[in-house]
Amino acid sequence: MGYANVRHYVGGMADWVESGGSVERVESAADSGGPVRNIQAHPPRRLSWANWLDILVNWPLEKLVGFWLAIIIFFGFIYWAAGIGMGWGLLANNTLVKPDLEGLGTAIYFSFVTALSIGYGDVIPLGPLRILAVTEGIAGLLIFGCVISKLVSRRQEELTEEIHRTTFEDRLDRVRTNLHLVFSDLEALDEFNTDHSALTGHVLQRFESSVRVFIGELKTIHDLLYRTRLLPEEDAMESLLANLALCLTFLTELLNSQPQRSQGLTAGLRTIGSLANEICGECVPQTYAPALKQWMDQIQDLAKKIA
Protein backbone atom coordinates (compact mmCIF):
# COMPACT_ATOMS: atom_id res chain seq x y z
CA MET A 1 0.00 0.00 0.00
CA GLY A 2 3.01 2.21 -0.35
CA TYR A 3 3.98 2.42 3.31
CA ALA A 4 7.70 2.98 3.20
CA ASN A 5 8.69 2.70 6.83
CA VAL A 6 7.24 -0.56 8.13
CA ARG A 7 9.22 -2.83 10.38
CA HIS A 8 8.45 -6.08 12.14
CA TYR A 9 8.75 -7.11 15.78
CA VAL A 10 9.44 -10.74 14.98
CA GLY A 11 9.05 -12.13 18.50
CA GLY A 12 5.44 -10.98 18.77
CA MET A 13 3.37 -11.35 21.93
CA ALA A 14 5.07 -14.63 22.85
CA ASP A 15 8.52 -13.08 23.06
CA TRP A 16 7.16 -9.96 24.75
CA VAL A 17 5.45 -11.89 27.55
CA GLU A 18 8.31 -14.35 27.90
CA SER A 19 10.80 -11.60 28.58
CA GLY A 20 8.56 -9.99 31.16
CA GLY A 21 6.96 -7.14 29.18
CA SER A 22 3.78 -5.70 30.61
CA VAL A 23 0.53 -6.63 28.91
CA GLU A 24 -2.52 -4.48 28.53
CA ARG A 25 -5.98 -5.99 28.45
CA VAL A 26 -9.31 -4.58 27.44
CA GLU A 27 -12.24 -5.96 29.38
CA SER A 28 -15.81 -5.05 28.69
CA ALA A 29 -17.31 -4.25 32.05
CA ALA A 30 -21.07 -4.60 31.98
CA ASP A 31 -21.74 -2.37 35.00
CA SER A 32 -19.75 0.63 33.89
CA GLY A 33 -20.97 0.21 30.33
CA GLY A 34 -17.63 0.79 28.72
CA PRO A 35 -14.30 -0.89 28.15
CA VAL A 36 -12.02 -0.75 31.16
CA ARG A 37 -8.30 -0.70 30.71
CA ASN A 38 -6.68 -3.12 33.02
CA ILE A 39 -2.95 -2.82 33.02
CA GLN A 40 -1.20 -5.82 34.46
CA ALA A 41 2.46 -6.38 34.92
CA HIS A 42 3.64 -9.78 33.80
CA PRO A 43 5.22 -11.09 35.97
CA PRO A 44 4.11 -8.53 38.59
CA ARG A 45 6.95 -6.08 38.85
CA ARG A 46 8.02 -5.39 42.41
CA LEU A 47 8.12 -1.78 43.38
CA SER A 48 11.47 -1.58 45.09
CA TRP A 49 12.80 1.68 46.52
CA ALA A 50 14.77 2.18 43.31
CA ASN A 51 11.52 2.07 41.33
CA TRP A 52 10.00 4.62 43.69
CA LEU A 53 12.99 6.82 43.08
CA ASP A 54 12.46 6.44 39.32
CA ILE A 55 8.87 7.51 39.72
CA LEU A 56 9.97 10.52 41.78
CA VAL A 57 12.55 11.56 39.19
CA ASN A 58 9.86 11.51 36.51
CA TRP A 59 7.70 13.97 38.40
CA PRO A 60 7.71 17.58 37.22
CA LEU A 61 9.86 19.97 39.20
CA GLU A 62 6.97 21.85 40.85
CA LYS A 63 5.37 18.64 42.08
CA LEU A 64 8.68 17.40 43.42
CA VAL A 65 9.40 20.59 45.36
CA GLY A 66 5.83 20.57 46.67
CA PHE A 67 6.18 16.97 47.81
CA TRP A 68 9.46 17.76 49.53
CA LEU A 69 7.94 20.71 51.42
CA ALA A 70 4.89 18.63 52.29
CA ILE A 71 7.06 15.90 53.80
CA ILE A 72 9.00 18.41 55.90
CA ILE A 73 5.87 20.05 57.25
CA PHE A 74 4.21 16.66 57.83
CA PHE A 75 7.17 15.47 59.90
CA GLY A 76 7.19 18.79 61.73
CA PHE A 77 3.61 18.18 62.82
CA ILE A 78 4.48 14.67 63.98
CA TYR A 79 7.31 15.97 66.17
CA TRP A 80 4.94 18.52 67.59
CA ALA A 81 2.08 16.01 68.10
CA ALA A 82 4.45 13.69 69.94
CA GLY A 83 4.83 16.50 72.45
CA ILE A 84 1.05 16.55 73.03
CA GLY A 85 0.48 12.80 72.92
CA MET A 86 3.39 11.63 75.02
CA GLY A 87 4.42 14.69 76.88
CA TRP A 88 7.87 14.61 75.39
CA GLY A 89 9.30 15.03 71.91
CA LEU A 90 11.85 17.67 71.17
CA LEU A 91 14.35 19.18 73.50
CA ALA A 92 15.46 22.80 73.01
CA ASN A 93 17.70 24.71 75.42
CA ASN A 94 17.47 21.74 77.78
CA THR A 95 13.73 22.19 78.14
CA LEU A 96 10.97 20.20 76.45
CA VAL A 97 9.30 21.95 73.55
CA LYS A 98 5.74 22.84 74.61
CA PRO A 99 2.77 21.77 72.48
CA ASP A 100 1.75 25.36 71.70
CA LEU A 101 2.12 27.56 68.65
CA GLU A 102 5.71 28.43 69.43
CA GLY A 103 6.40 24.71 69.84
CA LEU A 104 4.90 24.06 66.40
CA GLY A 105 7.28 26.64 64.95
CA THR A 106 10.23 24.96 66.64
CA ALA A 107 9.10 21.52 65.42
CA ILE A 108 8.84 22.68 61.82
CA TYR A 109 12.17 24.50 62.13
CA PHE A 110 13.72 21.25 63.44
CA SER A 111 12.12 19.39 60.55
CA PHE A 112 13.74 21.70 57.98
CA VAL A 113 17.12 21.53 59.69
CA THR A 114 16.90 17.73 59.62
CA ALA A 115 15.66 17.39 56.03
CA LEU A 116 18.37 19.70 54.74
CA SER A 117 20.93 17.73 56.80
CA ILE A 118 22.10 20.95 58.43
CA GLY A 119 21.80 19.59 61.96
CA TYR A 120 22.63 22.62 64.13
CA GLY A 121 21.89 20.56 67.19
CA ASP A 122 20.03 23.34 69.00
CA VAL A 123 16.87 21.22 68.99
CA ILE A 124 17.24 17.53 69.77
CA PRO A 125 14.76 14.69 69.18
CA LEU A 126 14.17 12.32 72.07
CA GLY A 127 13.53 8.56 72.13
CA PRO A 128 11.79 7.05 69.10
CA LEU A 129 11.66 10.47 67.46
CA ARG A 130 15.32 9.99 66.68
CA ILE A 131 14.41 7.16 64.27
CA LEU A 132 11.83 9.41 62.70
CA ALA A 133 14.36 12.21 62.33
CA VAL A 134 16.88 9.94 60.62
CA THR A 135 14.17 8.64 58.25
CA GLU A 136 13.22 12.19 57.41
CA GLY A 137 16.85 13.05 56.81
CA ILE A 138 17.20 10.21 54.30
CA ALA A 139 13.92 10.99 52.52
CA GLY A 140 14.68 14.70 52.44
CA LEU A 141 18.11 14.17 50.92
CA LEU A 142 16.85 11.75 48.27
CA ILE A 143 14.04 14.02 47.17
CA PHE A 144 16.28 17.07 47.23
CA GLY A 145 18.71 15.12 45.05
CA CYS A 146 15.89 14.52 42.56
CA VAL A 147 15.11 18.25 42.54
CA ILE A 148 18.76 19.09 41.80
CA SER A 149 19.02 16.47 39.04
CA LYS A 150 15.87 17.91 37.53
CA LEU A 151 17.39 21.38 37.45
CA VAL A 152 20.57 20.09 35.85
CA SER A 153 18.78 18.02 33.22
CA ARG A 154 16.55 20.96 32.38
CA ARG A 155 19.60 22.99 31.40
CA GLN A 156 20.91 20.02 29.46
CA GLU A 157 17.66 19.67 27.54
CA GLU A 158 17.89 23.32 26.57
CA LEU A 159 21.39 22.72 25.24
CA THR A 160 20.33 19.65 23.28
CA GLU A 161 17.49 21.63 21.78
CA GLU A 162 19.97 24.34 20.80
CA ILE A 163 22.27 21.82 19.11
CA HIS A 164 19.31 20.28 17.37
CA ARG A 165 18.29 23.65 15.99
CA THR A 166 21.76 24.57 14.79
CA THR A 167 22.12 21.26 12.98
CA PHE A 168 18.74 21.81 11.45
CA GLU A 169 19.72 25.23 10.15
CA ASP A 170 22.94 23.85 8.74
CA ARG A 171 20.97 21.21 6.97
CA LEU A 172 18.63 23.79 5.49
CA ASP A 173 21.60 25.80 4.27
CA ARG A 174 23.10 22.73 2.67
CA VAL A 175 19.87 21.90 0.89
CA ARG A 176 19.58 25.46 -0.35
CA THR A 177 23.14 25.51 -1.71
CA ASN A 178 22.94 22.10 -3.30
CA LEU A 179 19.61 22.83 -4.93
CA HIS A 180 21.09 26.00 -6.34
CA LEU A 181 24.03 24.04 -7.75
CA VAL A 182 21.80 21.43 -9.29
CA PHE A 183 19.62 24.17 -10.69
CA SER A 184 22.59 25.97 -12.30
CA ASP A 185 23.93 22.71 -13.66
CA LEU A 186 20.65 21.65 -15.19
CA GLU A 187 20.05 25.10 -16.60
CA ALA A 188 23.52 25.16 -18.19
CA LEU A 189 22.96 21.70 -19.63
CA ASP A 190 19.61 22.74 -20.98
CA GLU A 191 21.13 25.79 -22.70
CA PHE A 192 24.04 23.76 -23.98
CA ASN A 193 21.72 21.17 -25.38
CA THR A 194 19.79 23.46 -27.73
CA ASP A 195 19.36 20.90 -30.50
CA HIS A 196 17.83 18.37 -28.02
CA SER A 197 20.31 15.68 -28.93
CA ALA A 198 21.22 12.90 -26.52
CA LEU A 199 23.87 13.82 -23.98
CA THR A 200 27.13 11.92 -24.26
CA GLY A 201 30.49 11.53 -22.62
CA HIS A 202 31.37 13.76 -19.69
CA VAL A 203 28.30 15.91 -20.21
CA LEU A 204 26.15 12.87 -19.53
CA GLN A 205 28.25 12.07 -16.48
CA ARG A 206 27.81 15.59 -15.24
CA PHE A 207 24.08 15.27 -15.72
CA GLU A 208 23.90 11.99 -13.82
CA SER A 209 25.98 13.39 -11.01
CA SER A 210 23.62 16.36 -10.71
CA VAL A 211 20.68 14.00 -10.62
CA ARG A 212 22.29 12.10 -7.75
CA VAL A 213 22.84 15.27 -5.72
CA PHE A 214 19.29 16.23 -6.49
CA ILE A 215 17.98 12.90 -5.15
CA GLY A 216 19.81 13.50 -1.87
CA GLU A 217 18.29 16.93 -1.42
CA LEU A 218 14.86 15.75 -2.46
CA LYS A 219 15.09 13.12 0.27
CA THR A 220 16.02 15.78 2.79
CA ILE A 221 13.07 17.96 1.82
CA HIS A 222 10.77 14.95 1.92
CA ASP A 223 12.07 14.19 5.42
CA LEU A 224 11.57 17.81 6.37
CA LEU A 225 7.94 17.68 5.35
CA TYR A 226 7.16 14.30 6.88
CA ARG A 227 9.29 13.59 9.90
CA THR A 228 10.98 16.53 11.50
CA ARG A 229 9.68 18.19 14.64
CA LEU A 230 11.22 21.50 13.65
CA LEU A 231 9.84 23.42 10.74
CA PRO A 232 11.63 26.04 8.68
CA GLU A 233 10.02 29.42 8.28
CA GLU A 234 7.48 29.67 5.51
CA ASP A 235 9.67 31.96 3.38
CA ALA A 236 12.58 29.57 3.57
CA MET A 237 10.34 26.63 2.85
CA GLU A 238 8.79 28.40 -0.11
CA SER A 239 12.16 29.18 -1.67
CA LEU A 240 13.23 25.57 -1.18
CA LEU A 241 10.07 24.24 -2.78
CA ALA A 242 10.31 26.75 -5.63
CA ASN A 243 13.88 25.72 -6.36
CA LEU A 244 12.86 22.10 -6.18
CA ALA A 245 10.07 22.67 -8.68
CA LEU A 246 12.42 24.57 -11.02
CA CYS A 247 14.98 21.78 -10.90
CA LEU A 248 12.27 19.26 -11.67
CA THR A 249 11.10 21.34 -14.62
CA PHE A 250 14.57 21.45 -16.13
CA LEU A 251 15.01 17.81 -15.41
CA THR A 252 11.85 16.85 -17.30
CA GLU A 253 12.91 18.99 -20.26
CA LEU A 254 16.35 17.40 -20.37
CA LEU A 255 14.90 13.93 -20.01
CA ASN A 256 12.68 14.43 -23.04
CA SER A 257 15.80 14.46 -25.17
CA GLN A 258 17.22 11.38 -23.46
CA PRO A 259 15.50 8.31 -24.87
CA GLN A 260 18.37 6.04 -23.83
CA ARG A 261 18.91 6.02 -20.07
CA SER A 262 21.48 4.12 -18.10
CA GLN A 263 20.34 1.73 -15.40
CA GLY A 264 21.54 4.00 -12.60
CA LEU A 265 19.70 6.95 -14.05
CA THR A 266 16.46 4.99 -14.44
CA ALA A 267 16.62 3.86 -10.81
CA GLY A 268 17.37 7.40 -9.69
CA LEU A 269 14.45 8.77 -11.66
CA ARG A 270 12.18 6.20 -10.09
CA THR A 271 13.27 7.38 -6.65
CA ILE A 272 12.68 11.01 -7.64
CA GLY A 273 9.25 10.10 -8.98
CA SER A 274 8.11 8.27 -5.88
CA LEU A 275 9.51 10.83 -3.43
CA ALA A 276 8.19 13.86 -5.27
CA ASN A 277 4.86 12.14 -5.76
CA GLU A 278 4.36 12.27 -2.00
CA ILE A 279 4.87 16.01 -1.88
CA CYS A 280 1.56 17.74 -2.36
CA GLY A 281 -0.50 20.26 -0.44
CA GLU A 282 -2.94 17.70 0.94
CA CYS A 283 -0.75 14.66 1.57
CA VAL A 284 1.90 16.12 3.88
CA PRO A 285 1.10 15.88 7.60
CA GLN A 286 1.13 19.59 8.42
CA THR A 287 -0.94 22.26 6.78
CA TYR A 288 0.89 25.02 5.01
CA ALA A 289 0.07 28.38 3.47
CA PRO A 290 -1.70 28.21 0.07
CA ALA A 291 1.43 29.43 -1.74
CA LEU A 292 3.42 26.54 -0.33
CA LYS A 293 0.66 24.09 -1.19
CA GLN A 294 0.71 25.32 -4.77
CA TRP A 295 4.41 24.63 -5.05
CA MET A 296 3.93 21.21 -3.55
CA ASP A 297 1.15 20.37 -5.98
CA GLN A 298 3.34 21.52 -8.83
CA ILE A 299 6.11 19.23 -7.60
CA GLN A 300 3.70 16.32 -7.56
CA ASP A 301 2.54 17.08 -11.11
CA LEU A 302 6.16 17.18 -12.32
CA ALA A 303 6.83 13.90 -10.53
CA LYS A 304 4.04 12.26 -12.49
CA LYS A 305 5.65 13.46 -15.71
CA ILE A 306 9.00 12.00 -14.71
CA ALA A 307 7.52 8.69 -13.63
Binding site: V6, R7, H8, G11, E24, V26, R227
Partner: protein, 81 residues
Amino acid sequence: MKQTAPHLETSGHKQTVSREEILSRVQDPAFALVNVMPKEAFESGHIPHSVNLPVAEIETKARQIFPHVAREITVYCAGPT
Protein backbone atom coordinates in the same frame (compact mmCIF):
# COMPACT_ATOMS: atom_id res chain seq x y z
CA MET B 1 -1.20 -18.37 14.95
CA LYS B 2 0.84 -17.66 11.85
CA GLN B 3 -0.03 -14.26 10.58
CA THR B 4 2.03 -11.63 8.90
CA ALA B 5 1.07 -8.36 7.41
CA PRO B 6 1.73 -8.93 3.73
CA HIS B 7 0.18 -5.68 2.58
CA LEU B 8 2.15 -3.54 4.96
CA GLU B 9 5.47 -4.97 3.98
CA THR B 10 7.87 -2.92 1.98
CA SER B 11 8.97 -4.40 -1.27
CA GLY B 12 11.67 -6.97 -0.76
CA HIS B 13 13.58 -6.08 2.38
CA LYS B 14 11.89 -6.35 5.74
CA GLN B 15 13.48 -4.67 8.72
CA THR B 16 13.02 -5.91 12.22
CA VAL B 17 12.65 -4.15 15.55
CA SER B 18 14.09 -5.32 18.83
CA ARG B 19 12.21 -5.57 22.11
CA GLU B 20 14.52 -2.96 23.60
CA GLU B 21 13.67 -0.45 20.93
CA ILE B 22 9.97 -0.93 21.53
CA LEU B 23 10.49 -0.45 25.26
CA SER B 24 12.47 2.71 24.78
CA ARG B 25 10.26 4.27 22.14
CA VAL B 26 6.79 3.18 23.14
CA GLN B 27 5.97 6.69 24.42
CA ASP B 28 7.26 8.37 21.26
CA PRO B 29 4.31 9.72 19.26
CA ALA B 30 6.22 9.20 16.01
CA PHE B 31 6.50 5.49 16.75
CA ALA B 32 3.38 3.52 15.85
CA LEU B 33 3.02 0.04 17.25
CA VAL B 34 0.45 -2.10 15.42
CA ASN B 35 -1.02 -5.36 16.64
CA VAL B 36 -2.30 -7.33 13.63
CA MET B 37 -4.13 -10.03 15.59
CA PRO B 38 -7.94 -10.31 15.51
CA LYS B 39 -9.88 -8.00 17.83
CA GLU B 40 -10.61 -10.68 20.46
CA ALA B 41 -6.96 -11.66 20.70
CA PHE B 42 -5.97 -8.01 20.96
CA GLU B 43 -8.41 -7.44 23.81
CA SER B 44 -7.16 -10.40 25.77
CA GLY B 45 -3.64 -9.03 25.79
CA HIS B 46 -1.42 -6.65 23.86
CA ILE B 47 1.68 -4.54 24.30
CA PRO B 48 0.70 -1.27 25.95
CA HIS B 49 0.29 1.69 23.59
CA SER B 50 -0.32 -0.47 20.53
CA VAL B 51 -3.25 -0.10 18.18
CA ASN B 52 -5.24 -2.97 16.74
CA LEU B 53 -5.38 -3.43 12.98
CA PRO B 54 -6.33 -7.04 12.19
CA VAL B 55 -4.71 -8.49 9.07
CA ALA B 56 -8.10 -8.87 7.43
CA GLU B 57 -8.83 -5.15 7.81
CA ILE B 58 -5.48 -3.77 6.70
CA GLU B 59 -6.64 -3.24 3.13
CA THR B 60 -9.65 -1.22 4.20
CA LYS B 61 -8.55 0.54 7.36
CA ALA B 62 -4.81 1.16 7.15
CA ARG B 63 -5.28 4.45 5.28
CA GLN B 64 -7.66 5.76 7.92
CA ILE B 65 -5.34 4.99 10.81
CA PHE B 66 -2.12 5.95 9.08
CA PRO B 67 -2.90 8.41 6.30
CA HIS B 68 0.74 9.16 5.66
CA VAL B 69 2.80 6.56 3.90
CA ALA B 70 6.03 7.79 5.46
CA ARG B 71 4.76 7.00 8.97
CA GLU B 72 7.09 4.86 11.04
CA ILE B 73 5.16 1.67 11.75
CA THR B 74 6.08 -1.45 13.68
CA VAL B 75 3.87 -4.54 13.32
CA TYR B 76 3.69 -7.60 15.51
CA CYS B 77 1.43 -10.60 16.05
CA ALA B 78 1.14 -13.57 18.37
CA GLY B 79 4.60 -14.99 18.12
CA PRO B 80 7.62 -15.68 15.96
CA THR B 81 6.52 -16.21 12.36
